[in-house]
């Protein structure tokens, strides 16, 4: 039964490194908001909103029990500029130097 009853240690596991989010935080949010998609879960926990944009934590979050794990729910996660970029580079891209 150990599998069905997660211990406090499980709760302390960091599931999103960038946002310092634990499995316990996720479980709490699942209970409080009853999200119906990973996207909605993201908006209440900030999973996937860190500097890696969910590259590290997305597989972990797929272990949650939200209903909508469709392609679309994932696709919303990564947004341009895709890689972190310094503003002076962003602001002058395409210009001659």
């Amino acid at each position: 039964m150990a599998k069905d009853a997660p211990s406090h240690e499980d709760d302390a596991v960091i599931v999103c490194r960038c946002e310092a989010l634990t499995w316990g935080d996720v479980k709490q949010a699942m209970e409080a908001f009853q999200p119906t998609s990973l996207r909605q879960l993201k908006s209440v926990t900030r999973w996937g909103m860190g500097i890696c944009q969910g590259r590290v934590c997305r597989p972990m979050m797929a272990a949650t029990t939200v209903e909508d794990q469709t392609e679309a729910a994932f696709r919303l996660v990564v947004r341009p500029p895709f890689k972190p970029v310094a503003m002076n580079i962003l602001g002058h891209e395409g210009e001659k130097v």
């Binding site: 996207r39 209440v44 503003m87």
Partner: protein, 394 residues
């Protein structure tokens, strides 16, 4: 209306969620329906500014101020949604703007609002990261900020706690009219949901829901981009915008680089509770596309560095765009539809839906349940538009 009427709210963005919150608080039974998740529309693609600083003296600023007060109460009532009240600043680009900013502050102070003009020395004392050549600015003390994603969820959660029925992932096909009155909605699944009143809070999708009934409202999608920084040093704790976009209110031309003019780009700097900041904003009519345009992103970054040269080393980790529900006079529609009892509209908040959600939700509850309205609903009537066009700011 029955003592505990059943109100169907179509659209669970911030406006529908706030309506559901206040309706259930006043004792109504509510079904809150959305085609996607709770908060999946514009309310999750925006900033969290709750502003009076850019509102015209009179009804505009009164509505914003009442909403700020209601929000302040909500922040005590609901669980945490990163509500803070740091005030906000407008900064000037040039001498012409300084002159207009002084005038703006004079008008607002005459209305008794907490505005202050800040001369060169004062603005640089308040905002030490600003570019040296910024000539002046102003401050509004009542402006607040919140996390719009969390806020929307909290409002919906509060309605659910008072037994509202939340129906995510259920597109509404038709609004049912019987004997001339709104009697319920038909879901795309075929299910019929009967009710005593229907509130259409569907943001930019509102015209599509009303069109089949021959009801036309001039709400159009106006695209806006935001940039998100990585965690790192902030450039101050309060939000800062540029005065430039108010210039049209004074019938003056805004002076800004061509790219900023082309994409309607004006500086918005918003530090968040997560130790990063958001940068905005752009204003464009380019249809329904929410993809991020690299040219606009670049223009926003440039505009930010004009005011904050130190940002050149800051990191941007993503950008996104949302569609503001624009109306010709930039006021929302909060009104019953004449001739169709029980059919209500709460939509068209353009760039102010987060800030105006509280007053809108409260007003809907007042009007639908027959209480005395918290503000004069006259200027928000659905049929006030005789033609498209008119004042275009905000």
């Amino acid at each position: 209306m029955k003592s505990s009427p059943h109100v169907i709210v179509v659209g669970a963005g911030v406006i529908g969620a706030a309506s559901a919150h206040y309706l259930t608080q006043a004792g109504a039974r509510v079904t809150l329906i959305d085609q996607g998740d709770i908060g999946s529309g514009t309310s999750s693609r925006c900033d969290g500014n709750v502003l009076a600083i850019d509102k015209d003296p009179g009804f505009d600023s009164q509505m914003a101020t009442v909403s700020q007060q209601l929000l302040h109460e909500l922040a005590q009532e609901l669980p945490y949604f990163e509500y803070r009240r740091p005030g906000s600043y407008l900064v000037c680009d040039n001498a012409d703007e300084v002159e207009m900013a002084r005038e703006w502050v004079r008008q607002q102070q005459a209305e008794g609002l907490p505005f202050a003009y800040l001369d060169y020395e004062a603005i640089h004392r308040h905002l030490p990261h600003l570019a040296e050549d910024v000539p002046g600015g102003l401050y509004c003390g009542s402006d607040s900020t919140l996390n719009p994603l969390l806020y929307t969820q909290r409002l919906a959660q509060s309605a659910r706690d008072r037994s509202a029925d939340l129906r995510p992932h259920q597109p509404v096909g038709d609004i049912g009219i019987e004997g001339g009155a709104a009697k319920g909605v038909r879901l795309a699944s075929g299910e019929w949901v009967p009710g005593d009143a229907v509130v259409v809070a569907a943001g930019i999708w509102t015209p599509a829901l009303l069109e089949p009934l021959g009801i036309r409202v001039p709400i159009r999608p106006r695209k806006g981009h935001l940039l998100v920084s990585g965690k790192g040093p902030l450039f101050g704790d309060a939000k800062v915008m540029e005065f430039g976009y108010l210039m049209s209110k004074f019938g003056r031309e805004r002076v800004a680089p061509p790219d900023a003019m082309q994409y309607g780009v004006a500086l918005v700097y918003e530090p968040t509770a997560s130790h990063n900041f958001l940068l905005g904003s752009s204003r464009e009519f380019v249809g329904w596309d929410t993809s991020s345009n690299p040219k606009v992103v670049q223009s926003i970054a440039r505009r930010a560095m004009r005011f904050y040269p130190g940002m050149k080393d800051a990191t941007i980790i993503r950008s996104y765009a949302g569609l503001r529900p624009w109306t010709p006079d930039h006021f929302p529609i909060v009104s019953e539809v004449d001739g169709v009892p029980g059919l209500w509209i709460a939509a068209g908040h353009e760039g102010d839906g987060i800030g105006l959600a509280a007053v809108t939700g409260r007003l809907i509850a007042d009007l639908v349940l027959g209480g005395s309205p918290c503000i004069d609903p006259g200027p928000l009537r659905w049929n006030r538009f005789t033609e498209e066009g008119g004042m275009d700011h905000g």
